[in-house]
């Protein structure tokens, strides 16, 4: 399945002056072709106005998981991927702990986490589909 897997973390906002900006950071974005290349990710961040603060780990901050999802949908649109799988860092760590082979890890990454369909890709019809579907 063509899918974008995003791993995010939640930063405890206690004592953080930037709390108002949000506490979620996007750590890694993967596709079937491995991690999305840093320069490409940088371009997406630039286009979508997502920060990449030097003093923080990950891209963001995002106010909520929903905001991360929206950004992931944007990347999905650009990369023409139909699904987004969102995993928190703890979920990813549990997967690592439970996997003993690469195949286990891949299977868990595809089945676990929050899977969201990108309708703009999955329900986008080709020209011929549109012609034949027309009643």
């Amino acid at each position: 399945m063509d899918k974008l897997i995003a791993i995010y973390r939640f930063k405890n906002p206690a004592n953080d002056l930037n709390y108002s900006k949000g506490s979620y950071y996007l750590l890694h974005v993967l596709t079937n072709e491995g991690a999305v290349k840093p320069d490409l990710l940088e371009k997406f961040c630039h286009d979508y106005d997502v920060e990449n603060p030097a003093e923080e780990i990950g891209l963001g901050p995002f106010e909520s998981v929903d905001d991360i999802t929206k950004f992931c949908f944007y990347i999905c649109d650009e990369l023409r991927l139909p699904y987004v799988g969102l995993l928190s860092m703890d979920e990813f760590n549990s997967i690592i702990e439970e996997s003993s082979k690469v195949s286990d890890l891949l299977e868990a990454l595809h089945s676990d986490g929050n899977l969201i369909e990108n309708i703009s890709i999955t329900q986008k019809k080709s020209f011929f589909q549109k012609v034949f579907d027309r009643k």
Binding site: S100, V102, L105
Partner: protein
């Protein structure tokens, strides 16, 4: 007795012949994994190492102690009989070196610790669990070395191991080895841990410190201070493991080796799980590791990855050059040998591995263009003067803000012995500034001052050169200016070297050795190796520098070279490589 060739040996073997490259006991770079085969086959396996190879034997802690409190050294499993292994090596005239882990080990299940102790998974800086893919597609999890139970068991194991080798008369060297990987161009040790276990151990450390030193230590008041104290804590734990090992193995103790495991970073995990890892990345990592003084290891990579140019790089750059160099660092006879060593001209002294100051100042960019593979980082702890050391062709870049009295003495010693020092005076302590000025006056040195992008002071004493510049001011300039500053400055040194024009992602590696009896016309012989780890055709071109004579072109694979007067140009096909020897004369 007639010698049996490798092929005949296989035909006499009762087991299915396995080529050395595909054999799990030989994961690369002269490592030998004794627990991966029957002890009855050890002799046959060890025979396959070339004469003169130093065989690295990592001691598998969990194999000798499955629960952490019982030990097996030849008592139950015959494969735990290290004395037998040692005796076979002696009989075959091979030298084995034992490696004992000082950190979690990425190629072993549970990071090499006994399974009952594998309770708290270690986390990296991002808070993600260390999961590492080995050469058989297993995912090895690393467990925290900050767990007190792990340390206690480790300490006991070191004592038992030490008693065993002493009692059984094993005289092989024992090194402690630090495992890590390159993460964003920075060497990260697998001991680095950001898990709860680390935090708990750290809070116990703080409590103990507050009790011991209640007047001076008032607790942590800032993030910067927390970073410093955490570093101090992790150094303390590292030294505890080190002391346990060195005390345990006593006279066999030789020192510490650092390894960087190709394919062992988080980025590698994410790419390797979907088989999208690139050889060109590993190829670059080899050079980067060497420039950080860390030995690259390909043990995590499957054999199919190492068949082509990557395998040649590992063999030439690591196995026959850098590894030997590291294993004979303190060997006085090795310094004048005719074995190739890495060509290291520039030493970039830095306080810790995370320091990026030379990068920010544009120096690494400049050196990467003109002197690729000829510079390395030098840990400030190792920046010291050794009597008899030849520093005539060595350049040391030093940060003034990090200097203490003893470092200052080292600088002067190097300078007076003909070495070259380039000192950034930003942050230099007032007392040391005055000492430097009085040194110039006392020795009646002619000091030239120039203002080129920053203030530069130049003094010479015989062969020795001392250049003082202000890094703070240089940092205010644009990156191109900073890089040009170094290009200009380094060009004044008139270093004998050749500039190579290559396409992107082509790896260049320089080695040097003394001249042999047949090469007395030359002062040294330099070997240039060029590798193309990509799947594209790449161009290469270089003009022979003055005082460089072409000796021979060797080890040509997938390349088309044409030799013109004083110039070589050609194309490297995918997976191509070649080496050229030059005689260098005055």
């Amino acid at each position: 007795m007639e010698e049996i060739s490798a092929d005949t040996r296989y035909s006499l073997s009762l087991t299915t012949p396995v080529t050395r490259d595909a054999d799990a006991v030989f994961p690369g770079e002269n490592w030998f994994l004794y627990w991966k085969t029957s002890s009855s086959l050890w002799k046959t396996k060890l025979e396959e190492f070339s004469k003169g190879d130093k065989i690295l034997v990592p001691v598998n802690w969990s194999f000798h102690s499955d629960t952490g409190d019982n030990y097996d050294f030849a008592e139950t499993k015959p494969e735990t009989d290290l004395k037998k292994l040692f005796d076979i090596a002696c009989e075959l005239g091979k030298e084995i070196t034992f490696l004992m882990p000082l950190t979690p080990v990425p190629f072993l299940a549970n990071g090499g610790i006994p399974h009952l102790l594998a309770r708290s998974i270690a986390l990296n800086k991002e808070g993600m669990a260390y999961g590492i893919i080995d050469n058989e597609e297993n995912i090895n999890k690393l467990y925290s070395f900050y767990d007190p139970r792990v340390f206690q068991a480790y300490s006991k194991f070191c004592t038992k191991f030490g008693q065993y080798i002493s009692k059984s008369g094993i005289s092989s060297d024992v090194y402690g080895y630090v495992c890590g990987c390159l993460e964003n161009d920075e060497y990260i040790s697998y001991l680095d841990d950001y898990s709860k276990v680390f935090e708990q151990a750290f809070s116990r450390f703080l409590k103990a410190r507050a009790q011991k030193d209640s007047t001076e230590f008032q607790g942590i008041s800032s993030i910067e201070e927390e970073y410093i104290v955490k570093k101090e804590f992790s150094d303390t734990i590292t030294s505890l493991y080190l002391e346990s090992l060195s005390a345990g193995v006593g006279a066999n103790w030789e020192g510490v080796l650092k390894f960087s495991f190709l394919g062992g970073s988080l980025e590698d995990l994410l790419n390797r799980m979907s088989a999208n890892d690139l050889n060109s990345k590993y190829s670059k990592d080899i050079s980067k590791s060497i420039s950080r003084g860390v030995i690259p290891s390909s043990i995590l990579l499957p054999h199919r990855k190492k068949k082509g140019v990557l395998g040649r790089q590992l063999s030439e750059m690591v196995e026959s050059t850098f590894l030997n160099q590291k294993l004979s660092e303190d060997d006085v006879y090795e310094t004048e040998s005719v074995q190739f060593k890495t060509l290291n001209v520039f030493n970039l002294v830095r306080i810790d591995e995370s320091s990026k100051i030379w990068n920010d100042l544009g120096l690494t960019d400049s050196l990467s263009t003109d002197f690729y593979s000829c510079f390395s980082y030098l840990d400030k702890k190792l920046f010291e003067w050794k009597e008899g050391r030849n520093v005539l062709e060595q350049y040391f870049f030093v940060q003034g803000g990090e200097l203490i009295e003893s470092d200052f003495k080292t600088i002067l010693k190097i300078f007076m012995n003909g070495g070259k020092i380039i000192l950034d005076n930003s942050g230099l302590e007032e007392g040391l500034v005055r000492r430097l000025e009085s040194f110039f006056l006392e020795n009646n040195l002619e000091v030239e001052k120039v203002n080129f992008l920053t203030e530069v002071t130049y003094a010479q004493l015989g062969e020795g050169k001392l250049i003082v510049f202000n890094g703070e001011k240089l940092l205010t300039r644009g990156i191109n200016d900073r890089v040009n500053f170094w290009k200009k400055l380094i060009s004044t040194f008139e270093i004998q070297h050749m500039s190579i024009e290559t396409s992107e992602n082509v790896e260049v590696f320089w080695r040097t050795r003394g001249s042999s009896i047949n090469e007395l016309n030359y002062e040294e012989v330099r070997r240039l190796s060029i590798y193309n780890p990509t799947s594209y055709k790449k161009k290469v071109k270089f003009k022979f520098a003055k005082n460089f004579a072409l000796l021979k072109i060797i080890d040509e694979f997938n390349c088309e070279l044409s030799t013109l007067p004083h110039e070589i140009q050609g194309e490297l096909l995918p997976d191509g490589s070649f080496s050229i020897d030059f005689g260098v004369f005055s």
